[in-house]
């Protein structure tokens, strides 16, 4: 199980060069059954990362480019009258895939956004009164561009909350950039990417992750972190219990990637910023400025050894 994960990581890192940490976070998010929001400038490899993730996990995949004239029907699908059967048949939209890449999700109208986000939450869609189950597993990887806000519809807080993690890739370092520039083709051929997992294996891993030990001390730590965010003088939005759950799930997944069957505070700290930053400060984009993140401030206020003295 661990070797499969290591292989997956190695393959993604060979495509998304110089970002092992973000790759690992993204993978752990998917293994924890969470959706990802990747927020970065254009050309930083958002789409590449999403693409590679989907293909490596061996899942069906489709990409939707969100534009301002995208309709909910384009995402979900539409029921069309069939001459042969004399009945309405669903023409499934892009969302009927195991991995959906919603590119530039903030460009679409709120109506379309909410169609997608509802599907993310419920795991099923309704067309003309008929409910259709979405495939399992189901991941949404959305990207958005923090710059050039003209003509965008920023996701409201309630919908941001549905993404387990918000990631940003950031600029590569010199070595990585050199490798990227030296690569022969502008786009790596996606046919090279092998699927390392079957759906059954993926489910097995997810089950294993859900069984990872979480000691009371860890629960205390999560509670303490949430409580710090709720204090009156905190500038941050308060972390909800749902945020705490997401934090624990992500930390379990991270512990699994670290080859442990129990969670330690380091796991919480590793995933705290991607899991909580967009919940603490939904309207701010500290993409290049980790030190100023509210999540770092909150982390610094709790002693993991003795979280609730």
């Amino acid at each position: 199980m661990q070797t499969a994960v290591a292989n997956i990581l190695a393959q993604i890192e060979s495509v998304v060069i110089g970002k092992p940490h973000q790759v690992k976070l993204a993978l752990s998010c998917l293994l924890a059954k969470g959706h990802i929001l990747i927020e970065d400038l254009p050309g930083m490899g958002k789409t590449t990362l999403a693409n590679t993730l989907a293909l490596t996990l061996g899942l069906s995949y489709q990409r939707i480019q969100f534009t301002s004239d995208l309709m909910p029907a384009d995402v979900i699908g539409i029921a069309i009258f069939d001459d042969v059967t004399k009945s309405f048949l669903l023409h499934p939209g892009a969302i009927f895939n195991q991995v959906v890449l919603a590119d530039e999700v903030n460009r679409a109208s709120p109506k379309t956004q909410s169609a997608l986000l509802e599907a993310m939450e419920e795991g099923r869609v309704s067309v003309d009164g008929v409910t259709h189950q979405l495939p399992e597993p189901f991941f949404v990887i959305a990207t958005q561009n923090p710059m050039s806000h003209a003509g965008t519809y920023p996701l409201p807080e309630s919908q941001l909350d549905r993404f387990m993690m918000r990631l940003s890739l950031g600029f590569p370092n010199i070595d990585a950039e050199r490798k990227i520039l030296q690569a022969t083709s502008s786009h790596r051929d996606t046919t090279d990417i092998k699927a390392f997992l079957t759906v059954e294996q993926l489910r097995e891993i997810q089950l294993h992750i859900s069984q990872i030990t979480v000691a009371p001390a860890i629960i205390d730590y999560v509670i303490a972190l949430c409580r710090v965010s709720r204090q009156a003088e905190s500038q941050a939005k308060a972390l909800s219990p749902r945020a705490g759950k997401a934090l624990l799930a992500a930390a379990k997944s991270w512990a699994f990637m670290e080859n442990r069957d129990y969670v330690i505070p380091d796991d919480i700290q590793a995933v705290f910023s991607p899991v909580c930053e967009h919940r603490l400060a939904p309207q701010q984009h500290h993409i290049f400025d980790e030190a100023n993140e509210l999540s770092q401030h909150i982390l610094s206020q709790v002693d993991p050894i003795n979280p609730l003295p």
Binding site: A215, P216, A217, A232, Y262, P265, P304
Partner: protein, 721 residues
């Protein structure tokens, strides 16, 4: 060169000092100033005018300087701010403050002779308070200012103990503490802070009660100054018309609660003092009996003696009651005839009045038992007889003539007295609070012409007539009746209840009370003021701000009654809880405790409390299974931080181990064992797989490593590899 070096060092020092000084919100500074003003105001009536001058100058300077500093800081701060932060500007250099302090202390010491010990101490305290505000450079200074403020505010309770004032002072003390809360939790809402403060003070209440009840009450080292306090109420010299002025006073004289039922209104003659010397105008205590009184004061006629006084025939059942007297700045006490008291600080005079050893400068309470049927002085000594017959017969010749005429007509004393009282009743004598003015206080003029007067007029004229007729008699001044408060079940006697009556000595029957006022206006005696008099009284007292319409409302009366009842209980239980009562209570408790079973119950209670505490501790330990290992880990961290190996607050155990591996590799072996064990116990197993023995085993190993770690740390500190 050297000098310059010195000065450089000094300036560096001062720089360091200023950089250390605390920075506070401007609102906090102003709150400090306002609170100082309020704290000092509680004592303002006690201050010497020079100190008031000093304090106001100091406060004004502070205020001006802070307004300037705030403006400066606001200019530097961003625009939309109503408050700003700055460190306290230094107004006076520290040597100037020192000089001022010395000068002020010397001045207070010099003025101390005039002020007395207590007041000079209070002046010293307030002076320090005024000066301390000039140097708020460190956090410590802020604490001191706040604590001084609390002291100043509470010391005002030495002088005034009424419930309203006490409440006000308590609120003020709370306000002082709010300053500290605002300092420590500036972003907390004011409402939350107040709630927190109330919660904390609720915790403090049990301690306060225990201290109040059980902490030994030392008698104060000081005497509350009496020079300033105006004498209130009756005085020991009575001229005609004196009491009429008192009759307009709503001030409280004393309050009484009877243990059983209270006697009828007409029986409530509260004796305060006996006046037996009359010079034609003024009644006063005779010099001769004064001397007697002093002797008795020295002999301390207590109850044990008093009941043995030969002059007394104790009869009938006693009425027990407690009296709470307001400060009168006199020494006499109030009681019904014939009163006895067991209290050591109360004495009895030969004229059967009670007195207090000292001046009543604070509210005091005392327990009295009265025997109304007692015969007072069946035998009259010749000296007493002559004293109570002495008369300046030239002062009122007409009255003297009238008395002699009566004497000739009635040989029996009783008959003569009855005739006189009938005269008062039948002829047109009026009882009024506004008697027409009388020339030279002539009793003749009153008796034969104006015929309108107050109790004093009647008592005075009656006593004069008695003496002129050869019956020993004297004037008694005190209070009559009182107002019953059903809410608190007690009787309040006001200054307006002041009264004067006559005592006549009849053979075999002793001193008999005769109240000529009762003959003139029986309602006055039966029920207090008659409705007619009440109207007069209302007319007299209603000024521009008359509360008359309010006073007639029922709810207002009810409320007033209720508040007065609370005030009474406060005075009775809180202020009346003196050192004497305390020692009595303690004695009772102790004797009860030592009496067999109570002691057992007490021990049982104690044991159960101890058991509860132990049970709580054990359960707390059980609740956290790996408690001990965590404790050891925390202990290790504390030890490391003592040796400058500090874990950052948010650093996890894993990272700290790595940190030590990098920086202090010699400690890694031992620390890693402890840290790993801690991690194993706290994160790895949520279920209780580990039995107790393995835990103990691990603990002993950890302790070994802890000692080794400590050893290594010491070695490293001493520089030994």
């Amino acid at each position: 060169m050297n000098g310059r070096g010195m000065s450089n060092a000094k300036s560096k020092n001062s720089n360091k000092h200023s950089s250390k000084s605390i920075i506070l919100n401007s609102k906090l500074f102003f709150a400090l100033l306002v609170l100082q003003l309020l704290n000092l105001l509680t004592l303002v009536t006690q201050f010497h005018w020079l100190y008031i001058l000093f304090a106001s100058i100091a406060l004004a300077t502070q205020f001006v300087v802070h307004v300037k500093a705030m403006r400066q800081a606001l200019l530097n701060a961003s625009i939309n701010q109503t408050s700003c932060y700055y460190s306290a500007p230094s107004i006076l250099p520290s040597w100037a403050i020192l000089l001022l302090a010395i000068a002020g202390s010397v001045a207070i010491a010099i003025a101390g002779r005039e002020l007395g010990l207590l007041l000079s101490m209070i002046h010293l305290l307030c002076f320090a308070y005024s000066l301390k505000v000039f140097e708020i450079t460190k956090r410590k200074d802020l604490y001191q200012v706040v604590v001084l403020g609390v002291f100043v505010a509470t010391s005002s309770l030495i002088f005034v103990q009424s419930i309203y004032f006490s409440l006000a002072v308590i609120v003020l003390v709370f306000a002082n503490f709010i300053i500290l809360l605002r300092f420590f939790a500036p972003s907390m809402l004011l409402l939350t802070q107040i709630k927190l403060l109330i919660k904390l003070s609720l915790y403090a209440i049990p301690f306060a009660v225990v201290l109040f009840v059980a902490f030994p009450k030392l008698s104060p080292l000081w005497q509350v100054p009496k020079a300033k306090a105006a004498k209130v109420g009756l005085s020991d010299q009575v001229k005609i018309g004196d009491i009429a002025q008192l009759a307009l006073s709503n001030e409280l004289a004393f309050r009484v609660s009877f243990e059983n039922s209270s006697p009828a209104h007409a029986q409530l003659y509260w004796r305060a003092l006996v006046l037996d010397d009359f010079d034609g105008i003024t009644w006063q205590q005779a010099a001769q009996s004064n001397r007697l009184r002093q002797q008795q004061g020295n002999n301390l006629a207590h109850l044990s003696n008093a009941s043995n006084v030969e002059n007394i025939v104790l009869r009938g059942e006693g009425i027990a009651y407690q009296v709470i007297a307001e400060p009168s700045f006199q020494s006499w006490l109030f009681a019904l005839d014939f009163a006895t008291s067991e209290q050591a600080n109360i004495g009895q005079r030969s004229d059967f009045a009670l007195f207090y050893h000292g001046i009543i400068s604070q509210t005091i309470s005392y327990q009295v038992t009265s025997y109304p049927e007692t015969i007072l002085a069946p035998e009259l000594t010749p000296s007493m007889r002559s004293l109570n017959l002495s008369l300046n017969s030239q002062s009122n010749p007409k009255l003297t003539a009238k008395a002699q005429q009566l004497r000739q007509r009635y040989s029996d004393d009783r008959a003569l007295i009855n005739q006189l009282l009938t005269d008062f009743n039948q002829n047109n004598y009026y009882y009024t609070l506004q008697p027409p003015s009388i020339q030279n206080n002539s009793l003749d003029e009153f008796y034969f012409q104006t015929r309108a007067g107050f109790c004093e007029h009647y008592a005075s004229a009656f006593t004069y007539l008695m003496r002129a007729a050869g019956i020993p008699s004297r004037m008694v001044v005190g209070y009559l009746g009182g107002e019953f408060n059903p809410n608190g079940n007690y009787l309040s006697v006001y200054q307006r209840n002041a009264h004067a009556w006559t005592e006549v000595w009849l053979p075999e029957q002793g001193w008999q009370r005769v109240d000529p006022t009762a003959a003139v206006d029986p309602e006055r005696v039966e029920r207090g003021f008659s409705s007619d008099l009440m109207q007069q009284y209302a007319d007299l007292s209603s000024g521009m701000f008359s509360m008359q319409p309010l006073k007639t409302m029922q709810w207002y009366k009810q409320l007033k009654m209720q508040i007065e009842a609370i005030d009474y209980q406060w005075t009775r239980w809180v202020i009346g809880y003196t050192g004497q009562k305390q020692s009595q209570l303690m004695k009772q408790l102790l004797t009860r405790l030592t009496q067999g079973k109570v002691m057992e119950y007490f021990l049982l209670c104690l044991a159960s409390v101890v058991l509860l505490i132990i049970a709580y501790k054990v359960s707390a330990v059980r609740g956290k299974k790996h408690h001990e290992i965590k404790q050891l880990y925390l202990k290790t961290l504390a030890l490391m931080s003592q040796h400058n190996v500090v874990k950052e607050h948010a650093m996890t155990g894993e990272k700290f181990t790595a940190f030590i591996g990098e920086n202090r590799p010699e400690l890694l072996v031992d620390f890693a064992v402890i840290s790993d064990c801690f991690q194993k116990y706290s994160y790895q197993n949520s279920s209780d797989e580990h039995n107790k023995s393995s835990l103990n085993h691990d603990l002993s190993i950890l302790k070994y490593h802890y000692r080794r770690l400590r050893w290594h740390l010491w070695l490293a500190k001493l520089g030994i590899k």
